[in-house]
Symmetry: D2
Subunit: 341 residues, 4 copies
């Protein structure tokens, strides 16, 4: 299989390297309009073929096109590539709006082409472990999902902190909770202190059942925190991605409803027990992601992180932007049963 | 001065002990309707006088009445005490609603009595240091205030997690930012997983200027986090109350606007530098609070944490409850200039 | 039972409080020559009887005498009390040398009196859990014991840092390893930067089998560390006493000997797996210690931490002082089979 | 300048990459007898020339030879290269004994060739900052140096944990303290639980003045700790290499001698103050080391980490092995004035 990669910025060279390492990929063609980025890739990955013309690439011999350009160019490249009968890999966030995502999905379905959206975190050992613990019932019914991703980070010129950082966490939430809990609505708050793009944001997500999720993202924090808590009615889990060794801790702790013995006692009590930290497999996630994309094409099946997963994240991002402009006003997603109050 | 203390639950005995230790307090009378609580105080603080009648206490010889009972009883006790010409100390939150707080303030003003609201954190060395750093300009203009207070905690029967935990953090925010930034509105989200009272909540606070604050409070977290970040345009501060030694860290870090040299470069850049952790004075906050109450009475002046401070917190709590019922709908506070969108 | 307590310095008032709380103790008589310490105890523990005469106490009606005075006075008070037919509780370290300890043990045996040595840590939930994990075989054969106890601490006038801090850790080691591994010798190094008493010391302990232990103690560290590692050939354990919640962590990690397949591969390999942190019972250790003393008297049996345990710690302290003067020269303890090299 | 590199194991490819990146290096020739290591380097660093003959390399056109082979082969390769008029870079530890180191230094001096010993840590921003703080007097007189480097690590077949890990820490100590404090003797203890090579060791180092150092190294720890404390009589410093951001913390804490006012008060008291964490420059140390080697050749001067520095570390390693066999017996180093006791 021949893979073409458009966009050789921060992430592109990693993509080139990982696709070169795939057994079933015979050639990788890397493309950028800037000659210095082509030179950089030449040095790091001398086995890659180079081109400065995305047109040549898209209409050439590649079987699949990887799109690692700024978000607002995803749709055009992706549509062109699909229409040229190429499978596509698109960096996160998938598109600039839901209409674009839906159109791409529709084209791909008609032509039986694969769309892979690069929610890389789904391929980490830690997230796979979280999914396993959620699915095997160890946590019990999940009551809430809390995520913090804050840092002193590079501002993006074209998008706010929600579109830059939240796709990581939203894709993890959808993966871990998705089958069990249906998203109903989002309320978002935040502030743009500098260039008109929000640098701090808080997203609250309501589900059709009594589950709740919150995402705190911030480009202007003096400390770097990347932490998630999943509260189940049996056990609770903390994922701290800044830890080198004990990334996931499972607490045999929780809250229990007691039958009322006396009006003088609390009806809700807490319980603490042992904690354990499962061993996490350490394989480079991007390598596993590249393999999944290649395999999905060869096996003619949907990849684990496909267009629909990309769309589901874009829906929340889009609703968040609407909500944040109205200072927290709740915006429905999907749900027919969710009644705005 | 004679001080009477009503309510000998979790916090009451600490109040008895600290008032007994005040030089200018000649007698402390402790009151509860439960005989086992009276016995408990007798053992711990044998110097205290005891009574099971709040009526006797309020209409007796005490100069000041400390009210440490459940929130929904604060107003009745407080009003009675003021009308009986007693100065009052009220535990946080001050009252169940703003109308009650305003009525108490009005009565106290007319009778030249003091209202002290027990925002204990204001008397800690760490918060005093935060105030000092905000006031002396070291942080620059404050852009945001972020607070997390989560734990596996005892559910309160009568109030939700906002009314239970947020008064600590709101009073700190008001103290540190108050004079420089005027609160405009609040948007709150959360969930009640158990008994109809929210156990998780997120408050976003908008100011009349471009400052922003957020409060995350949770009774159902497997881990205990008590952390604040204050983002200034010069320096940034982190207050971690779970640290034993380095509670406050000041980061010479921030974000800087660069004049645009090239459209290919980011316009907003970050800067990192040294960090330092100032020494914090370790005196029991409640002891300093008791002294402030006594002194404010003897010096006939407003205490540092007075009725107005209590009212300002209750305003936010009240607005938060309104907002949380409408899933994040923004609720104005004070502001005439804040236009709902 | 009547308990007399001599020495009301830092620790004495805690002893008074805990013995007052024992059901089977009818009276506590507290003794110090300084009137301000007697006053302090009067305020904190009004139920205690007071005296400034240790003679009156020792030759009075008390059934047991608790000795909480400086180390160099332990022997005289203890001997007098035993000869006066009192059971004794002695603070750590038991005595100033092994000869004193042996004499006291001999007297107590003859008179069937109990000696309790206050190795308080043995009564903590964390140490009990360590003992349980060592005894039930979960750690496998124990290969090493490593302890660090450093802080910016108060210098003792009469003893060096070894005699001040190491008894805690040595008593824990003896308790956890004692039955399974016999101590053979000690090599100690250190430095006295200030007043001629070592403020930093390192003790290495050799066992008759291939086990090894090391103790790092320091009064002049800018950071407070209280950490132990127990390396077993199955699992390894870390006890961090500065952690509020996860004090003990058990690592399913270790080193494995592989049969030699190829001279190009390492013969010794490491293995990592899950970690877990067992729930620790939180009861005040001193309360359990007081109960054990009282029960051992009433049941006429040796207490868990008795004279022999005190002696075993003093033996190591004594040998350490000899070794440290000779800059690490190994000093035998007990062992006949240990040949100095 | 042409640089030849012998030994392409774990570290070799990093050396190839960093020398390729040096402006003044025109060619890098990489050498190993294993064809798979040559292939690996070909893939990672296609610009390197390859050979499987160290003879060809040493007697070829290279100006300098980098020796990254097992310790027991350092001397032969190094001597051959010097005799062939090549400057040499030798990985740590420099040689297997002091005699070898002295012979190499003598040859190099006679032929005016440079010996660089790869004490890489000396080129890190953190160690440079420690040196700066020691030299500019901020710490005051240095009283002790304490180092811990423990992990679950790969056993080396040919050397014990002292020779494997301690060179890092000893080279840092020599660099930071070296000019101000002269080493007098070492006492070492440890245990070999597996293959006859010590896997745990403790080195105590005595200086001619009242300074003291200790090194704890362990291949069989379940947790990874890399921490140093430098105790000065003005300030104290902690270097925690496992921290991502605040690697160095300087504590305005210490111990003070008070003139004796009363025999009832301690004569030595402690003092705590602010802490600060200086910003550390993050440049790859190995790149700076390679530059230093190249510059020292071109400028005909001794490199910062030269043969003498290598020798000084080997002296301590050699003495440690002697001491550890005699269970802590103190072994003199250098000093004439140090009298064994």
């Amino acid at each position: 299989m021949i893979v073409g990669i458009i966009g050789l910025g921060y992430w592109g060279p990693n993509l080139v390297r990982n696709f070169l390492a795939q057994d079933k990929v015979s050639k990788v063609i890397a493309c950028d309009t800037l000659s210095e980025r082509l030179k950089f890739v030449k040095t790091k990955c001398p086995a890659a073929e180079l081109t400065n013309s995305s047109e040549d690439l898209i209409y050439g011999k590649a079987d699949a096109i990887v799109i690692a350009t700024p978000v607002d160019t995803h749709f055009d490249f992706a549509k062109k590539a699909l229409l040229a009968n190429k499978h596509i890999w698109v960096e996160k966030p998938f598109t600039s709006n839901t209409a674009q995502a839906e159109e791409l999905i529709e084209i791909a379905e008609k032509k039986n082409l694969k769309i892979f959206v690069d929610h890389t975190f789904i391929y980490t050992g830690a997230v796979k472990k979280m999914k396993e613990l959620a699915d095997n019932g160890e946590l019990g019914k999940i009551l809430y999902f809390d995520s913090v991703r804050i840092n002193l980070g590079i501002f993006q010129k074209d998008i706010n902190v929600v579109w830059d950082l939240a796709p990581h966490d939203l894709s993890i939430m959808n993966y871990v909770l998705g089958e069990h809990h249906k998203i109903a609505a989002v309320s978002a708050n935040g502030i743009a202190n500098y260039n008109g793009k929000e640098n701090i944001a808080h997203l609250s997500i309501y589900f059709e059942d009594n589950c709740f999720a919150h995402f705190h993202i911030n480009w202007t924090s003096p400390v770097k925190i990347r932490k998630m808590i999943i509260g189940g009615d049996k056990k609770m889990l903390v994922f701290d991605d800044m830890e080198n060794y004990e990334k996931i801790k499972v607490y045999n702790s929780g809250v229990e409803m007691k039958s009322m013995e006396s009006i003088h006692e609390a009806l809700v009590q807490y319980r603490t027990g042992d904690m354990y930290s499962p061993k996490i497999i350490q394989t480079e996630a991007l390598s596993l992601a590249a393999k999944e994309f290649v395999d999905s094409i060869l096996e003619n099946r949907q990849p684990l992180t496909n267009g629909t997963d990309g769309l589901n994240v874009v829906k929340i991002l889009e609703a968040s932007n609407k909500s944040i402009k109205k200072r927290g006003k709740v915006i429905e997603i999907n749900s027919k049963s969710f009644v705005e109050v």
